[in-house]
């Protein structure tokens, strides 16, 4: 298993926030920001709201630093807070009532969190390691598809190949990634809890 984030000295980070250490604060922010936003976006379905929720959480974390109590891990605290704030958001919006029900049932969310990664840096590292091992053409097509957001037909036009070849290369990449990511796969389980 890869190094878990609790390899980070939790008490150091928590004390850093309590004593308003800006370096620690910035580190935690960069480390978890995109993960927390992706998480909130998954609940709220709203990119802007997700950013607001996460940013407000960090503002509170800084300004109410003394009242900050962490019972489990810092990551657990952050994700649980974002979950609650995101649920509050949709309650206020009253648009996604169905989703609330689904989420209300996933009570084991917080418990599960501690065993999964949710930091962009770590996920990036794992996935990019895997991508590096793909054949160059295959990797290029995969990146265009997944990270540049191009449609298969667009990639085919751009690279002057058939759409069929694009689809094939993407499936090859997935196949390769599946095998290489196997040891890390529990990481992404959280994603399905929310799906």
């Amino acid at each position: 298993m890869p190094a878990k984030p609790n390899a980070l000295d939790e008490s150091f980070l928590i004390n850093g926030i309590k004593s308003q250490n800006k370096i620690v604060f910035d580190f935690i922010f960069h480390y978890y920001y995109s993960g927390l936003c992706a998480f909130s976006e998954k609940i709220t379905g709203n990119e802007e709201a997700a950013e607001d929720i996460v940013q407000d959480l960090f503002v509170t974390l800084w300004t109410k630093n003394e009242q900050f109590i962490i019972s489990s891990s810092l990551k657990n605290y952050l994700f649980t807070s974002v979950k609650n704030r995101s649920l509050d958001f949709i309650k206020r919006e009253k648009t996604k009532a169905k989703k609330i029900n689904v989420l209300a049932n996933s009570t084991d969310l917080a418990e599960n969190l501690s065993t999964y990664w949710f930091a962009e840096s770590e996920l990036t590292r794992v996935i990019e390691d895997c991508l590096q091992k793909l054949p160059p053409r295959c990797r290029e097509i995969f990146v265009l598809s997944r990270f540049e957001g191009l449609k298969n037909q667009e990639i085919a036009d751009k690279l002057e190949i058939s759409k069929r070849t694009v689809e094939l290369q993407i499936s090859n990449a997935l196949k390769s990634l599946r095998c290489k990511l196997k040891p890390f796969l529990p990481i992404f389980l959280i994603y399905f809890l929310l799906k």
Binding site: F29, S34, L123, T124, E167, S171, L181
Partner: protein
């Protein structure tokens, strides 16, 4: 359909881009064996992992941190303004009261204290006092002045017996009233002298600067205005005749005593004698009617009574003799008695 064919279309399946027919194919394949199920699950997780990373990459934590820093700063500012507001509210009464007392520094009327104080200047002595409102008073020989501990209410009332020079602290809202008996003086801020020695049957008021109203009765309803004095004017009120006369005078002569200077300006001898009596607390008697016609001019500062009498002798045909003091019934000695005789 074999395994590799299915795997080829899995990405399209996960993206929801498959036809119903192909979708069904994938699902059939998935359910056909545990192994296929496992491959499907792993593929799905890998695919979602990629999607998750893609979602994360949308967020720019650098930019977001700047926004968070700005929000924190704004909040700190808000907290600061709240603190400032609270501080301002708390400090306001202090500022108001400070201003109030600073602007009315001589008027400590907030504390009401009606106790009457009397200051006196013994015979032959002169003294000066500052009243609670800042008014400066010089008391001549054998003079007493009564005033309250604080000038509460709308008036500053003082009562005079004897002779005093006033430098009244200006306060138009609170007239300064000098009660001299029948004639009273209303002042807002000015310099004047007043005398009403009880043994003299005369009340003198000399105005140096500003203006004063003379009135009789009590200030208020029963007030009867008599006259308004102008600077340089002197009011003489003869008590027994209830008669008042006004004349223009050389004011210095009447107020120089406050600076310890005894000044005569064409004063007839009885007047000179009277002043000397007050000044030195002696009893000078004039013998010979003709002496009343002599007028005298002179200024004395540190001279003794004897020196002054000697100087008088030079300018007028007089002789003086000091009568020996005698013991009175109560075992005290009588005042020094001097007789001035026409030569």
């Amino acid at each position: 359909m074999n395994k590799s064919e299915i795997e080829e279309i899995l990405p399209l399946y996960f993206d929801g881009n498959l036809s119903e027919k192909d979708k069904l194919k994938v699902e059939v394949w998935k359910e056909s064996s545990d192994k296929n199920q496992k491959i499907f699950k792993e593929s799905e997780k890998a695919w979602q992992g990629i999607t998750l990373l893609q979602t994360m990459k949308k967020y720019d934590s650098e930019k977001a941190l700047q926004q968070v820093n700005a929000k924190i700063e704004r909040q700190n500012k808000n907290i600061l303004t709240i603190i400032q507001k609270i501080a301002a509210i708390l400090i306001l009464p202090l500022i108001i009261s400070t201003l109030y007392f600073a602007l009315k520094k001589q008027d400590i009327s907030a504390v009401k204290d009606d106790r009457l104080f009397t200051v006196t200047s013994p015979a032959g002595m002169r003294s000066e006092y500052i009243l609670p409102d800042g008014t400066k008073v010089y008391l001549n020989s054998k003079t007493s002045l009564s005033f309250p501990a604080t000038f509460s209410g709308n008036l500053r009332n003082v009562t005079l017996h004897g002779e005093a020079y006033f430098e009244v602290a200006e306060n138009k809202k609170k007239p300064f009233i000098v009660n001299t008996g029948k004639i009273n003086i209303e002042v807002t801020g000015t310099q004047f002298k007043a005398s009403n020695y009880s043994n003299e049957n005369l009340t003198e008021i000399v105005l140096v600067s500003g203006s004063i109203n003379l009135f009789s009765g009590k200030y208020g309803k029963s007030k009867e205005n008599i006259i308004r004095l102008k600077p340089g004017e002197k009011a003489n009120y003869i008590v027994s005749q209830d008669r008042i006369s006004i004349e223009n005078v050389d004011v210095d002569k009447y107020i120089s005593w406050k600076d310890g200077i005894l000044m005569f300006r064409n004063d007839p001898m009885p007047q000179v004698v009277k002043r000397l009596n007050h000044w030195f607390n002696v009893d000078i008697k004039l013998t010979g009617n003709d002496l009343t016609d002599y007028v005298y001019t002179g200024t004395f500062e540190d001279e003794s009574l004897n020196q002054i009498l000697d100087l008088l002798k030079i300018s007028a045909p007089i002789e003086y003799k000091i009568i020996k003091r005698h013991k009175k019934n109560d075992q005290t000695f009588s005042k020094m008695e001097i007789e001035i005789i026409q030569k």
